[in-house]
């Protein structure tokens, strides 16, 4: 895992602030202030603090401490796919 983090750190990442727009299409409550706790390393914070890796149309938000995947967001035409956590399946939202 340490190697994974080192490799990820070499890539420019954004943070959860960048997900405010896309998530506003499918969630009715402002999402970036939502509190989150990492099931892997127990670090906690807001969605805004997650590290976000692209490139679009797929965005992966990871724990800033251990790189555990918190959510994935994939744009596919009129759909936005949301998958939360690593093995929880994905939700597909119609956005247009």
């Amino acid at each position: 895992m340490a190697d994974d983090i080192a490799r990820l750190d070499d890539m420019a990442h954004l943070d959860g602030n960048a997900l405010a727009g896309p998530l506003s299409e499918i969630l009715s409550v402002e999402a970036t202030t939502a509190w989150w706790r990492c099931p892997q390393c127990a670090r906690s914070g807001t969605l805004a603090q997650l590290h976000v890796y692209g490139p679009e149309p797929g965005l992966t938000a990871r724990c800033p401490g251990c790189a555990h995947v918190a959510l994935r967001l994939v744009r596919e035409g009129e759909y936005l796919w949301l998958s939360m956590g690593g093995s929880s399946g994905a939700f597909r939202f119609r956005t247009a």
Partner: protein
């Protein structure tokens, strides 16, 4: 804020607003202030951003995020746009989109990287390059609110020619302590040698904060990581450091 539209019998939120470019002001050789008129704009908090969507003739769409640079003036909002060399969207917005033309916009977005006038602790704002845009909005809102809370700004830029919002920084403001950190070339006679932000740069303003003071750091990812790490090394509680990266 969102208009409702009928689609296949379902009511869905349409979050995209039409925004007309009203004014373009150069800040530096490559940075612009763009003022848009957005009918029905609901107002926003300093630090928030918008998403701008451009649609090409062939239907190709590109969406980019830009920070709001000032409090809203009715339905007029100001964005800060830095033209990125080889960028797909920013050079077009910065120099080619005609005044009077429309783009699509959604927002205001993000409730995390914001300053609220109710905050009474001194605050530290740390900007790298065009990361100064949302912090300029905070400084202007702080002034508009007549807040007597101390604001400390550290603004890292390559050269004196790269400084944005000179008018905001130079205005008389007894509650703003602003310091420019030049990374490549400093003005003649500057006491600080050009270079990246250091612990020594952060030490002085950090010493004037309270334990629960908010620190806002915005800039390129590498700058934000470095500044946040230095602040933690100085003993700041990571929970008080709010960051925004733009890649």
């Amino acid at each position: 804020m969102a208009r409702a539209a009928q689609l296949g019998g379902l009511t869905v939120a349409v979050a995209w607003h039409r925004a007309r470019l009203a004014e373009r002001r150069p800040q530096t050789a490559t940075a612009r202030s763009l003022v848009f008129t957005v009918p029905g704009w609901p107002g926003h908090l300093p630090g928030q951003h918008v998403d701008v969507r451009l649609t090409a003739d062939d239907g190709y769409q590109a969406v980019r995020s830009y920070s709001l640079a000032a409090p809203a003036d009715g339905d007029r909002i100001e964005l800060g746009v830095q033209a990125v060399a080889d960028g797909e969207v920013s050079p077009y917005l910065a120099d080619d989109l005609p005044v009077g033309a429309e783009v699509e916009m959604r927002g205001p977005l993000g409730n995390w990287f914001v300053w609220r006038p109710e905050q009474t602790e001194p605050a530290l704002l740390v900007a790298g390059g065009s990361g100064v845009v949302p912090l300029a909005a905070m400084i202007r809102a702080h002034r508009t609110a007549g807040s007597a809370t101390a604001f400390h700004l550290l603004y890292s830029v390559r050269t004196p020619e790269d400084v944005c919002y000179r008018d905001v920084l130079d205005a008389h403001d007894p509650h703003l302590d602003a310091r420019l950190l030049y990374t490549r070339q400093a003005p003649p006679g500057a006491a600080r040698a050009p270079g990246r932000i250091t612990q020594a740069d952060l030490e002085k303003p950090a010493a004037r904060l309270e334990p629960d003071s908010a620190v806002y750091v915005c800039g390129p990812t590498g700058f934000v990581e470095r500044a946040a790490d230095l602040l933690v090394d100085l003993g700041r509680d990571p929970a008080t450091i709010r960051t925004e990266r733009f890649g």
